[in-house]
Subunit: 389 residues, 2 copies
Amino acid sequence: MIKFLSLIVVAVFSLSLPAAEPRGTGDMGIIIERANGSVLIIETTHNSQLYRVEGLGDLSHASAVFSRDERHAYVFGRDGGLSKIDLLSGTLLKRVMQAGNSIGGAISQDGKIIAVSNYEPGGVKLFDSTSLELLSDIPAHYAESKQSKTVGLVDAPNQHFVFSLFEGNQIWLLDAHNPKQPKIQKFADIGLQPYDALISSNGRFYIAGLFGEEGLALLDLWQLDKGVQRILPHYGKDDPKKPVYKMPHLEGWALTDDYALFPAVGRNDVLVADRRTWQLVKKIPVYGQPVFVMSRPDGRQVWVNFAMPNNDTVQIIDTLKLAVMTTKKIGKGVLHMEFTPRGEAVWLSVRDEDKVQIYGTEDGQLRGELPAHKPSGIFFAARAHQSGL
Amino acid sequence: MIKFLSLIVVAVFSLSLPAAEPRGTGDMGIIIERANGSVLIIETTHNSQLYRVEGLGDLSHASAVFSRDERHAYVFGRDGGLSKIDLLSGTLLKRVMQAGNSIGGAISQDGKIIAVSNYEPGGVKLFDSTSLELLSDIPAHYAESKQSKTVGLVDAPNQHFVFSLFEGNQIWLLDAHNPKQPKIQKFADIGLQPYDALISSNGRFYIAGLFGEEGLALLDLWQLDKGVQRILPHYGKDDPKKPVYKMPHLEGWALTDDYALFPAVGRNDVLVADRRTWQLVKKIPVYGQPVFVMSRPDGRQVWVNFAMPNNDTVQIIDTLKLAVMTTKKIGKGVLHMEFTPRGEAVWLSVRDEDKVQIYGTEDGQLRGELPAHKPSGIFFAARAHQSGL
């Protein structure tokens, strides 16, 4: 009888502790702990940590995308690892080493394909988002036996991906309707050494930054016959004697209704261009060399963080006045910022102080703080619903 | 022993069938069954129905918003009922009769407050989104002992709501930081009989349509000191002899990067205005009197449905050419359209044929169909992350 009962108890116990807790996933997100190879799973309604997931390898330059149901996160590690995490159970479901060195990824419009961009050996790979099975391997050959690093990989509407070839000086538009045999349209001679790129939130304008020369390359996906145009011809590092402490990310551009605000390379300025003409409208002097220039979802504020030695501070730009309205000392090593989907709060990684801070964006007040081990990227599940992130 | 065992079995059974199934909620949504007082809970990854929830009263003009975690839907019924549904368990958690006749609602930026707009007795009420407890009742008095119907209620950034007074000819901006004692800023003499309104997706421009005269009233929430401006002064019913089969909804305006596309009242045209100057740019002739003019999330296509007797057809406008590209016969009674968040598909209610159809937006092909009893509004949970819906 005792033995019988204990069997029953075990059964009840395992049934009453389901691996995954039912809850809405729209307010969830992850925080990369770069030094540990781990991520925290958090939620933004009560600002709490739910789980820590370990064993993700080298996350020193990691990013993430989310499944269309906002249940799973896909984490792209620097070491070429692609990891799939279940947000509801806080478990690492699968991890594949897909390359020697990777630089980021994207998820297709329909949520079925994960694309990963690789430095080593170069090229892009497509994976099934359910199984992480390899669907195709697209080497980035730009000349006989020359393969390029790929950068600036983003998803675009109509089941496309777009990326750039660093050594190849090209932009490739990948049609993934048949992910085992993708079609590629190539745009050559777009400028020297594209090093990163962004796509506008409507998925129309793909803009690649150039390392080898000044200016940027713009591809209008609605009008491919126009080819790649050059914009902001004087954008880049204009003083060779001045050091660049950190090359700014292009995904850290803020595109508002009227303006693009973006970091000047190696200078203490945020640049403002008119989004219709791409003419420079203004330079806004800021506290340091800007890294991320991020728009609050409504576009009313733009938050800026900085390269060393100014990475303890953020500034907030008023986009109507196009001027800095607030300077905030946060703490050492502010690496990344992520707004809640409707913009009432922003989460900041403060790497050197091993914490994440949460500020209200209207009053600028600290709302909460979570301990985190050397936090870097913060990614909320709401990204699942947006193109190009 | 038998009795003891059966008790254990019951306990196991109830534990092994949790009320709510764990799953991601980002791909979920609801469909209003207007004649039955019921809603279907669906998901857009496999295009399936998960539950039917009954007992929601008169849903003949119903709308819905979602909690910030995308777990709960709040349904606003025509009869003044406010219903809270759990998407994960498919159950009606709570229902309050909050007025005699209501016209829609909104959820605050932080997700904590539900606002409902009422015809009878008029005014707006605020509720706690967890408990549905009444927080405050704001009668819309515009003159001594005169109370107005309220229309065009939307949420706005910084914990605000905006709505219009139909008889009062006013726009009210409600600050809900303290929802038990909200502050109200009133804009008077905005034009005769505002009948509906919209807010731009960034939460900046509130535009009210006028029933009593031509033109629209625009309030720039970033520049309140400018007051209410009049735009598109000739917009309205311009031929008094021509019948208007259905007054178009203002939330059925499509705002792309460059243009606003919106239904002409009582005419077979979609109008196009420049979003910076609000000057009319073009009239696009269409198949019938347009009702909803809805932009695909990327703005590349705009889908239009029509009033009787043309409500069996939709047309798709190419927003680069500003011309109709496709005319599709769907079936009798196309009442509403909802795009998946990243725009790869659109769901259409076909009321008179008791079904919902799902089309791919790139190829225009039918991807699926679900039976539904007199379906009207379709609302996807991704709305949780957007302002003003």
